[in-house]
């Protein structure tokens, strides 16, 4: 008997009136875990019952503890008829299963009903006593920590980053079972919620087992998704990065003065070599096919693009041997892995050596209606196929790993598009595992990685490039080759030198498709996909040039399939990397240059484009240091005056042609202006309005060029659905509608948040879905953070100055002492960690103290504030503790849509309720914030004729405790003789 779960029902408040006669309620509570149910007494005639129950004790396997949610049902007692359900609370007790997280769950939970929404609150206390039972064959994975955060969590240090873990679980969707015809919508919704809760628990447990197998103790960048496949079933799948994490015991060790979270990152993990005992030679990870009964009889794989910088150039050999050496090492470290993928998007310094470019793969599958358990092909095999493809793309780019890796699906009826994307990269083997690496070799390698530009250097062989690329010598160190444009799916590395500010860049695209069935449909889709990818890429490239920038970070391309159209939406944050060459402009060329008025028109357009570029450069403060040609010298084959890029990425592919994976036609770089499509493209380029002054936006964690955030943050979700009039369904009209939809949405956000100026919208995350024939739904989640304008100006100025200075010194030194430069410009790397450790030891601060301070004021009458943010940090604050993962799934349905304020009223209330439930769970865990919050799914269906609507929402994030930096200083200055008693009594009996 490995665990005892104890539950106490304290009280209820604000219950709904269930008895019209008395205007009161006779409430009691059922507490259910697994197959055991307890009941409280009936508390007669009250809307604020005080049950104060005994401790209900469940003796359960830890396997069940991981899989099952605790289910609390509040009911109204009725003597003569059946008891009426008021609502339910599902509590995931996983956070109680590892010792470092929460020890007790205690607080007010909203009582939720899938038909009526939140109906009052209930106060519950939950504890778990775990008993270790080492002899058993382990089926549970208690103790493995899960993080949604896609970087090493703030108060941990990564000892080893093991690599990719994945798993999927399949089941029938209760909504489509025969029984659904005879049960109430409420029962059906609840069955679904419960099933998904169970499946996520199971999935998490299985992933945990894999992590233990790899000798890891945590999963970072855990991303769990649901595929609602309709009649063919329900898939819950998850990916993550297995790590061995070490807790930095005192959060006070961080210098409270350091403002930017990235700085903190730099100092925290990994900088000293893994001296921890946990070295392991792990065997190849995991690929267990879950017994999926679902099958597929049709599949089309889509040729995939590889995005990177384009152009051509000659080779340089400097640094070659080191690169080769490095590659060798990394290879040996990664070779053993089936999929050397990492879901992380931000890394410890030195981890990311080179970045190749974005790799992605898509595949169109047909979901099978026929129930055929003997069919060997499963969802696992589908994903394995795609991952294999990604892996080979990465190889083609001379990379052995893929970082910033993610997977997604889009389903419409029986067609499913599976997508995976990531950034091909060369990693430093030091972090991947164990001691095969010699210390001195490491040292040498490190010295040879120039700071701030190393990741830009091409990982592939210049003489044997996988695609035509235009290479130049790095503008920072002048020793290695860099591409002219860099696309990645990761966050901007903290040490990257960026000039000016960044901005959100989106490519938006619609393509009509004929309605078709089954295979014909799948074929039609897969025929369209390459064109869409191509168009999206072209748009991104053009918009990037228009902004005067040369790199994209956090690139996310979403292709959504609908009945009669495909939508593509790509979002990324454009920046100007100092290491990369200045981007050329955009030049328009006509096809028939004889016509005079036509020429005039073209030159007019050209002028507009040039003006826009100049304006953008000013707006984003892009003024790279002028580098004289003499310094650059001969190795640069083509100086910067090339400015003709249009329509194709393979602009001047005069050298390598056979390896041209990017399917660019050599003559396509001339924009044919008499082509209406092209016209549209140019116009749409120019119609993108920059955000109003005082606003910036990006889809990465933080905005390059802004680093003085205030603590004022506002996370929000905005949803828009438009109905297309079926008359004007042409590709162009569609594109325009979609473009307007996104632009208007952004404009609305800027307007709504105007009181926060100067402010930046960070982690802007757009999702598109096509719920019905003529409906387009766009969901945006982001966080607005105010920053201090005065300081911002200062820092950017000094930043630019610094980079100017650096550039000049670099140039000087380049000529004289090229080797010393690199070691000199290494920042004070070896020291900060040591310092951190000593401070850590010297500080007598216990953890309990922090918890005490930040414990939500539950005794107080008002509700404690819980912050939510999609970022991994909270500006101006230190995260002192991770309490566990929040992963919640809700269904809401109504049969009185009009009465609830129509679709907008319905969804507005539901999202507000979801936020409330997330906050309540975090507060009950003793936390005061959710970081890395994400709304993974928001499926909305309506039937206004029947006055009905239904919505499914899936959210996740990490519950944390944070302490304001100002408070932290106060704490650390006054020597705490104070009692370090834990804020929660008991619950720590675990062995």
């Amino acid at each position: 008997m490995p665990g005892k779960l104890k539950v106490k029902i304290v009280a209820g408040r604000h219950l709904p009136v269930m008895d019209r006669a008395s205007d009161l309620t006779d409430a009691f509570v059922e507490v259910k875990f697994g197959n055991t149910t307890f009941k409280t007494d009936v508390y007669l005639k009250s809307l604020n019952p005080q049950w104060n129950s005994e401790w209900f004790k469940f003796e359960v396997d830890d396997e069940d503890l991981q899989d099952e949610p605790l289910q609390i049902t509040v009911l109204d007692h009725d003597t003569y008829s059946a008891n009426d359900a008021i609502g339910k609370v599902y509590i995931d007790i996983d956070p109680l299963l590892y010792s470092e997280a929460a020890t007790v769950i205690s607080g007010w939970f909203p009582i939720y009903d899938t038909i009526h929404g939140i109906r009052g609150e209930i106060n519950v206390v939950v504890k778990v006593d775990l008993f270790n039972d080492l002899n058993r064959f382990r089926q549970s994975s208690c103790g493995v920590k899960f993080f949604c955060t896609t970087s090493i969590p703030k108060c941990y240090r990564a000892v080893i980053i093991h690599g990719f873990v994945e798993e999927l679980v399949v089941n029938e969707d209760p909504e489509y079972q025969w029984i659904d015809r005879i049960r109430t919508p409420r029962a059906s919704n609840e069955a679904r919620q419960r099933l998904i809760s169970l499946m996520s628990g199971e999935l998490q447990r299985k992933i945990g087992l894999k992590v233990l197998e790899m000798r890891g103790n945590a999963v970072v960048g855990y991303l769990q998704c649901f595929d609602l496949e309709g009649e063919s079933g329900l898939v819950v799948r998850a990916i993550g990065t297995a790590c061995t994490l070490d807790k930095l015991s005192s959060p006070a060790a961080f210098l409270p003065a350091c403002n930017s979270p990235s700085k903190e990152m730099k100092e925290s993990p990994l900088v000293h070599p893994p001296s921890h005992g946990c070295r392991s030679t792990h065997n190849s990870p995991i690929h267990t096919a879950t017994g999926s009964r679902l099958t597929q009889n049709f599949s089309v794989s889509v040729p995939t693009l590889i995005y990177t910088g384009m152009g051509s150039g000659s080779a340089g050999k400097e640094g070659g041997p080191f690169k080769a050496l490095l590659r060798q090492q990394t290879q040996s470290a990664l070779e053993q892995r089936e999929f050397p993928f990492f879901t992380l998007t931000a890394f410890p310094p030195g981890f990311l050596v080179h970045v190749g470019g974005v790799v992605s793969a898509r595949s169109v599958k047909l979901l099978d209606r026929i129930h055929n358990p003997d069919e060997p092909e499963t969802r696992d095999a589908w994903w394995a196929e795609i991952r294999q493809e990604i892996k080979s793309h990465a190889k083609a780019l001379g990379c052995h790993a893929v970082v910033g890796y993610s997977e997604s699906t889009s389903i419409c009826e029986e067609v499913c598009i599976l997508s995976a994307s990531g950034t091909a990269a060369v990693l430093n083997p030091r972090f991947l595992q164990d001691g095969t690496v010699e210390g001195c070799l490491e040292q040498r390698l490190e010295e040879n990685l120039p700071v701030g530009c190393g990741f830009c250097h091409i990982p592939y062989d210049e003489l044997n490039m996988p695609f035509p690329a235009h290479l130049t010598y790095c503008y920072n160190c002048r020793k290695q080759k860099v591409p002219d444009v860099l696309f990645t799916t990761v966050d901007l590395p903290t040490d990257a030198t960026v000039i000016g500010k960044g901005c959100l860049i989106q490519a938006r695209l619609c393509r009509l498709k004929k309605k078709a069935q089954a295979e014909a449909n799948a074929t039609a889709i897969s025929n369209l996909l390459p064109f869409m990818e191509y168009e999206v890429h072209t748009q991104l490239m053009n918009k990037l040039k228009l902004k005067g920038m040369n790199a994209l970070f956090g690139l996310r391309i979403q292709i959504t399939v609908g009945e009669n159209m495909l939508m593509g939406l790509a979002s990324a944050t454009g920046v100007y990397l100092a290491a990369l060459p200045t981007p050329g402009g955009i030049q328009i060329a006509g096809k028939t240059p004889n016509d005079g008025s036509y020429e005039q028109h073209i030159s007019h357009m050209q002028k507009k484009i040039n003006d826009t570029i100049a304006k953008n450069k000013e707006l984003y403060e892009i003024n790279p240091p002028e580098i004289s040609e003499e310094i650059i010298g001969s190795p640069i084959p083509e100086p910067r005056q090339r400015s003709r890029l249009l329509r194709s990425q393979s602009e001047s592919s005069d050298e390598v042609t056979e390896l041209d994976l990017s399917h660019g036609k050599k003559d396509a770089f001339v924009l044919e202006i008499d082509d209406t499509d092209a016209m549209e493209d140019v116009h749409s380029l120019l119609t993108d309005v920059p955000p109003p002054s005082g606003f910036y936006s990006c889809n990465t964690e933080i905005m390059p060029g802004i680093n003085n955030w205030t603590s004022e943050i506002q996370m929000f979700t905005s949803v828009r659905v438009i109905r297309l009039s079926s008359l004007n369904l042409t590709n162009q009209a569609l594109n325009k509608n979609f473009n307007d939809l996104c632009e208007n949405l952004l404009k609305s956000l800027y307007f709504k948040l105007r009181s926060m100026i100067p402010c930046c919208l960070c982690h802007v995350n757009f999702t598109v879905s096509l719920p019905e024939d003529e409906l387009i739904q766009v969901t945006v989640t982001a966080v607005a953070i105010t920053f201090d304008k005065n300081q911002a100006l200062q820092t950017t100025k000094t930043h630019v100055e610094k980079s100017l200075q650096r550039a000049s010194t670099d140039n000087e030194e380049l000529l004289q002492f090229p080797l010393e430069l690199c070691s000199d410009s290494l920042p004070s790397h070896p020291f900060p960690p040591a310092k951190a450790v000593t401070v850590e030891k010297a500080s007598p601060m216990g953890e309990g103290n922090f918890r005490n301070r930040s414990a939500p004021p539950c005794a107080n009458s008002t509700v404690g504030v819980v912050k939510m943010t999609p970022l991994s940090f909270i500006p101006g604050a230190k995260i002192t503790k991770y309490l566990g993962i929040i992963n919640m799934f809700f269904i809401r349905e109504t049969t009185s849509l009009r009465e609830e304020g129509g679709v907008s009223g319905f969804l507005h209330a539901f999202i507000a309720e979801v936020f409330a439930m997330v906050r309540a769970h975090v507060a009950a865990l003793g936390g005061n914030a959710v970081v890395s919050y994400i709304m993974k799914q928001c499926v909305f269906m309506e039937n206004p004729n029947k006055n009905q609507a239904q919505c499914l929402i899936n959210v996740s994030g990490d519950a944390v405790v944070f302490v304001r930096e100002s408070e932290l200083e106060v704490v650390s200055t006054q020597q705490p003789t104070a009692n370090c008693q834990p804020s929660c009594t008991g619950g720590e009996v675990t062995t």
Binding site: V719, R720, D740, F751, K752, V903, S904, H908, F915
Partner: protein, 357 residues
């Protein structure tokens, strides 16, 4: 392309004060949008009308959802659905319960019943306040009235506790409840010159001195109902005017004391008996509910108007009333000194407040 659905939900609920005011004032979304356009917000922010429309809709929806909670403000503090900083919560509540002077003057002292509610149409037309806003204000009055009507303890405290209003607003509501409960007539033409503030001032004095709570702080209804016994006793004051000797003595005491100090001395001397009769008769009549209702009409008719027609300066009124009340203590034949003080102390305050143009 039409927008089917358009929402914005923040982790911290966004409250736009200007839109909240428009919503409270009962404007429809389209009216609110055009008012906002007129305020020049589009030029300031570079937004479009569509953006403004969407923003206004969003705020209206939020307010609509909050309204249920605003009906019981402590619920707003304890609810989990909307995360709102305390200062904003206070603002929401305070503004929601705020009322228009013009409106309150129309319903002050009326029975807060369905009948009155039906008259809201007329009030709306008369005052130019939207019907929606009238309804909200009326419902607020009624809600507060219902909650505190039969409660023990101080009226102001009860209102503050159950509606979390500021001290100022809670006092105003106490006056409204007090007036509604006693049904004082405030709508007569000759009372039109009086502001809500004037009445509220009087209500406060009356609550302090004339209610049951003034004697015993543990009774239900203590601050809402007038002390019946006290009203009954007021009949005793009648001898001040019925007994001719007493009246003459009183007059001579007042005149002696005020000679040379009043600018309107002769007018006062000439009018003394009328004024005194008026004031004492008002007291004596208070046993009848109907006369209680007419209290303010009587005070204005019997005292304010005569003085005003003789152009008494306010200071003279004050000197007179002080002397008039104090001199009674020197009337040997009069035994109800305490009663007189309880009555006249309050009345003096009220009259001074009511005496203006």
């Amino acid at each position: 392309m039409t927008s089917e659905l358009d929402i914005f939900v923040g982790n911290t609920t966004l409250i736009d004060e200007d839109v909240y005011r428009l919503w409270l004032d009962g404007y429809s979304v389209s009216d609110a949008v055009s008012l906002r356009v007129r305020s020049g917000i589009l030029e300031q922010t570079g937004a479009t009308a569509a953006v403004l429309q969407s923003d206004t809709m969003d705020h209206y929806r939020t307010f609509h959802m909050l309204e249920r909670l605003l009906h019981a403000p402590p619920k707003l503090l304890h609810q989990l659905i909307f995360q709102i900083p305390p200062s904003r919560q206070a603002l929401l509540i305070e503004r929601y319960y705020a009322f228009d002077e013009a409106f309150v003057r129309e319903v002050l002292g009326k029975k807060l019943s369905k009948g009155t509610k039906k008259d809201l149409d007329d009030i709306s037309t008369k005052t130019g306040i939207t019907l929606k806003s009238c309804r909200r204000q009326f419902d607020n009055f009624k809600r507060v009235f219902k909650v505190v009507e039969e409660m023990r303890g101080s009226l102001v405290d009860n209102i503050q506790q159950h509606f979390l209003l500021s001290d100022r607003l809670a006092r105003d509501y106490a006056a409204i409840v007090f007036f509604a409960n006693n049904r004082f007539e405030t709508g007569k033409k000759k009372l039109q010159y009086l502001s809500f503030g004037d009445f509220a001032f009087c209500a406060e004095l009356m609550i302090q001195n004339w209610t049951l709570g003034a004697v015993d702080s543990q009774v239900a209804d203590m601050d809402v109902d007038l002390d019946k016994e006290f009203l009954q006793d007021l009949k005793e004051l009648k001898m001040l005017v019925a007994d001719k000797d007493l009246l003459d003595l009183h007059k001579s005491l007042v005149c002696t004391a005020l000679r040379g100090k009043l600018g309107v001395f002769s007018e006062m001397e000439a009018n003394f008996k009328n004024l005194s009769r008026g004031l004492v008769n008002v007291a004596a009549k208070l046993t009848h509910n109907k006369d209680v209702r007419d209290l303010f009409v009587d005070l204005v008719e019997k005292f304010v108007e005569p003085c005003r027609s003789d152009h008494w300066p306010l200071n003279d009124v004050r000197l007179f009333l002080n002397q008039y009340s104090a001199s009674v203590h020197s009337l040997d034949g009069f035994r109800h000194q305490a009663l007189w003080d309880r009555y006249m102390g309050t009345l003096r305050g009220c009259l001074l407040r009511l005496y203006h143009d």
